[in-house]
Subunit: 201 residues, 3 copies
Amino acid sequence: MLETGITILSWCGLAVFAATGGIVAAHKKMDIVGFAMLATVTGIGGGTIRDLLLGLTPVFWIRQPEYLLVCVAMGVVVFFSRRIRDAGFLIWFDAIGLALFCVTGAERTLSAGAGPVAAVAMGMVTATFGGIIRDVLGGESPIIFSKEIYITAALFGALAYVGLIGLSVPQDIAFVSGFVACLALRGAAIYFDWSLPQHRG
Amino acid sequence: MLETGITILSWCGLAVFAATGGIVAAHKKMDIVGFAMLATVTGIGGGTIRDLLLGLTPVFWIRQPEYLLVCVAMGVVVFFSRRIRDAGFLIWFDAIGLALFCVTGAERTLSAGAGPVAAVAMGMVTATFGGIIRDVLGGESPIIFSKEIYITAALFGALAYVGLIGLSVPQDIAFVSGFVACLALRGAAIYFDWSLPQHRG
Amino acid sequence: MLETGITILSWCGLAVFAATGGIVAAHKKMDIVGFAMLATVTGIGGGTIRDLLLGLTPVFWIRQPEYLLVCVAMGVVVFFSRRIRDAGFLIWFDAIGLALFCVTGAERTLSAGAGPVAAVAMGMVTATFGGIIRDVLGGESPIIFSKEIYITAALFGALAYVGLIGLSVPQDIAFVSGFVACLALRGAAIYFDWSLPQHRG
């Protein structure tokens, strides 16, 4: 059942990440192919970089074209639907994607035989680099700058998962805990408008 | 003979992509080493990302330094020659490179054992990511934004090639058809100033 | 003894590259997690791209988390210490890192069985791409634009090393020569404010 839940949430996360790519494409007044491309790069970007760094090639979407097709479909949907673009719930689905991918990224890295520090780093990479690539290609200020707690939440979730695995907690409990840790922090940051102190420059 | 034609066109495409890197370097008033570097990144960027994603490492230019040398030479030529920089025919050679690389990228991906969706995606990546990297490094608005039909033409050519292969059409006919499909669409877009409808933002 | 010296200088180079990431983060008023992330990407970026291109995966820092930890620590130190941020000696340490990484990048490429042209290119990539990624993510004008002799110095050092190895000079002499060549050119460029002629655009 956990397995099924993860699978469903994974597709939701992918689709929502892709949708955020479409939203940036709308800001930039791209055509429909630009929407599809930016949606795809955003949706699969983080996992692609994770696979490249670990040497897990061909990367995951080469043999599983569903990932590409879902991202392209989301780009097209966002192109035509103002309601999706304006939907306030997108930021919450994005938080779910973030929480999920920081844990699955860390998990895949541990399975590949790497140590805990690399696993935490890779959880952050998997969860955030799709968005970073989106912002660089879209000419937006990357989320790495964002005042909101975003990368920090991914760090927190990956740390929680890897830490619990290190304490020999069963994997499914560690998984749910890491997911909840990230989602709770990110959710609180959205709801209460939390941010870390910024440097004064 | 087709083989020889492809080889000649490949080098033309590479050289012209590299030249576009030099032209961006000229806009940015770089020095000669910057010209050589941006030319090289533009010329080999798309194929490099293709090889990385497929796991075909070391990437193609590591064992075939001619690619690097041609790109560096083009960077130097563009640095010194105003005539090349202003040449109106460059946009047409660029279209040839685009048409060729969307097909060769798709072909290399099918040979690596991947399916049709990944092959089409990889054709687009091979043909367009050199230019995208050039624009990101050069601080220009990436071609992904461009109003002109550019990425769409690469998509069209890759789709035609992969579709015909799927229909068991002989490979050389599929190759020429994909090439012509992309070149015709891109050429018409240049000539008639075609573009897809853009999003109103 | 040469080995020990290289190791010490390597860590200095990594730490200083990471510090430059922290300095860009300060300009952009990021929070502490942004500092750590930009420091890390800058410190390990060049070597990571080198390993990816050569197919040496998992990349070097996956199994050696010390690299990540040093970079994160530097990001935190730069966040809290104005003295480090303003330190005039940073540019000199950066030159040491540049000189070292252009040679070690070339060396690692030759060891992987590649030829001299690829080795020179990879020396430049290893030495400069961390900074290029830093500038792209940080929204700064990339060092590729810089008027100062920077990439050129990395080219010079890598050329000297690879050339001497090609002439069968013993490796440690070639190593020191390449290092000194790059450092001397970069140092002179800083001290005398040298630059190559720029294109007039």
